[in-house]
Symmetry: C2
Subunit: 363 residues, 2 copies
Amino acid sequence: MRIGIIGAGQLGRMMALAGIPLGLEFAMYDRSRDVPGAAVADIATGRFDDRSRLARFARGVDVVTFDWENVPVASARAIARIRPVWPPPRALEVAQDRLSEKRIFERNGIAVAPYAAVDTAADLERAVAALGAPGILKTRRLGYDGKGQVRLVRARDARDAYARLAGQPLIYERLVKFSKEVSLIAARGRTGDVETYPLAENVHTDGILAITRAPWPDTRLQRLAERNHSRLMRALGYVGVLCVEYFVERGRLVANEMAPRVHNSGHWTIEGAVTSQFENHVRAVAGLPLGSAAPRGHAVMVNVIGAKPRARELLGRPGLHWHDYGKSARPGRKLGHVTFVTGGRASRDRVARQLRRRLIPQR
Amino acid sequence: MRIGIIGAGQLGRMMALAGIPLGLEFAMYDRSRDVPGAAVADIATGRFDDRSRLARFARGVDVVTFDWENVPVASARAIARIRPVWPPPRALEVAQDRLSEKRIFERNGIAVAPYAAVDTAADLERAVAALGAPGILKTRRLGYDGKGQVRLVRARDARDAYARLAGQPLIYERLVKFSKEVSLIAARGRTGDVETYPLAENVHTDGILAITRAPWPDTRLQRLAERNHSRLMRALGYVGVLCVEYFVERGRLVANEMAPRVHNSGHWTIEGAVTSQFENHVRAVAGLPLGSAAPRGHAVMVNVIGAKPRARELLGRPGLHWHDYGKSARPGRKLGHVTFVTGGRASRDRVARQLRRRLIPQR
């Protein structure tokens, strides 16, 4: 079976590395051939809104998935008329707009931060008056890694904040005073079977994921997050890996956003779980049974961002796993990640602190 | 860094799958493009004795290794004048001839079965008279998976046995009454650093490896095998993964043969060890530090030979890992393997029995 992936970044690359051992074949579609996926698959090139090129690509594969949630929904729907597309285009559509994302969370009984849609300066003033400050004004579409966001410390910041993002649909959210950020990842197969990873705890730096530690053991919140996931996946007719990111606010889970794809906060599963998120995603998309998502010890994953240390130095620590995405260095760019898995939480956390000092620029 | 692999079978494929995440690039050379490695690397084609094609291939990479121990030694030496070749061609030369293999074992104090070189019918009669029967007459070169071997039950079988293999250099070995077959795999880096996997226990069917279970816990024999390995690797100036297969005869290790490459009895290390034999081999060849060879639980690996079960059925057992080499089915051909890793020996052995019944034709 040949799987087509729209987008050939590191996520597509890691999907193919996980799927090739299963006997699956991969083709990828991206804007250029100079992409991480090129090491493991043929790359077809074209714009993401070029429906005739996308159609030609789709006809050459058996099933289509994506490694990027901003594939135009119209393109995904056009492909779905030619070949099965998983996750379903509807999941892309919901995840591409913070307002529809909030609404699907609410419709499924999932707590979110107080919010209001903002299309004008007056909308924002009303929202701030009703919900209070501090808060964050965000673009509804195409935000990621902290881009397209302005923080309002006080109500009187509203005018400046609006000026910086005006001209596109926005959303104002009251700031959540969270103690932790966590995420849940699960895979759902074509027959509705589900494999759920344990909650992971995430730390962001400048809006970009820096460190994930897993499992993050909290039986009550794990159950709650699994219930949420189960409702969302059923509502969307979901197939593949889904990630939901949460804030933990006074023992409650407040949903921040969802990613209808494999997710950076699940990279630890390559070495830290029986079956990785990448393998389970391609198994789901290919209609194969899912593998166990049980953790294998305690894992820490640290992103390598902006500048790449020498592999020789990274690998000098026995037990460290290095994943180089094959990208050239550029400030703020995710270039790779390292993972360390150990038997105990204390030793894992010691290594996490060392890796953090070593790999993440301190301010 | 670009690594060239002579031979693009499943071993080359698994090397590339392990090395791509480290940021390494791969090119392979084989007789045809219809090879397992084609999924993960560009394939250059040519005969293994075509020195000009091999030279062109070598000039396009930084370092050369092989996934097959019968690469002609003259070819390996020619390549070594252009690019570093690891393991060293001398290791190929020794491993390609059962007589020189026995001699290097003996020179390094490693026990072997009583043997004699056989070039004529009279040689064989003398050998059987001196060493006794039962025994095995083997071709000195190009034997693998039980091919090129004839068993002598009684001394009077000598004439028939000789007739079947005559015309090439032979060796007669007295049969070892072994209780187990085990193998040791270690990797040696360019600076002489070594990472050693635990002993694995192997079961062969019709001369082909069927099942490996690891770790095979015997502290005394582990130490002995490590000492042997260390002597051999130093004697050969070895870089890369080396495997030595042993018979266990009354608590002694009797060396059977060595493989100067990653080995089927180490496939369990992909999921069963912190760093797989494939990753450690490419790390060694690339001059990178080695990763920990410590086991992660108790593993069983079962080869899939001759006929391929449906992935859907194999993967129905949660926790099972399936490695499809992407080859077409043919009797006696290794098409893939499955691995299962668990926390305890008893549960591992239960799964091993089930997999054996399921995957290995019973006679």
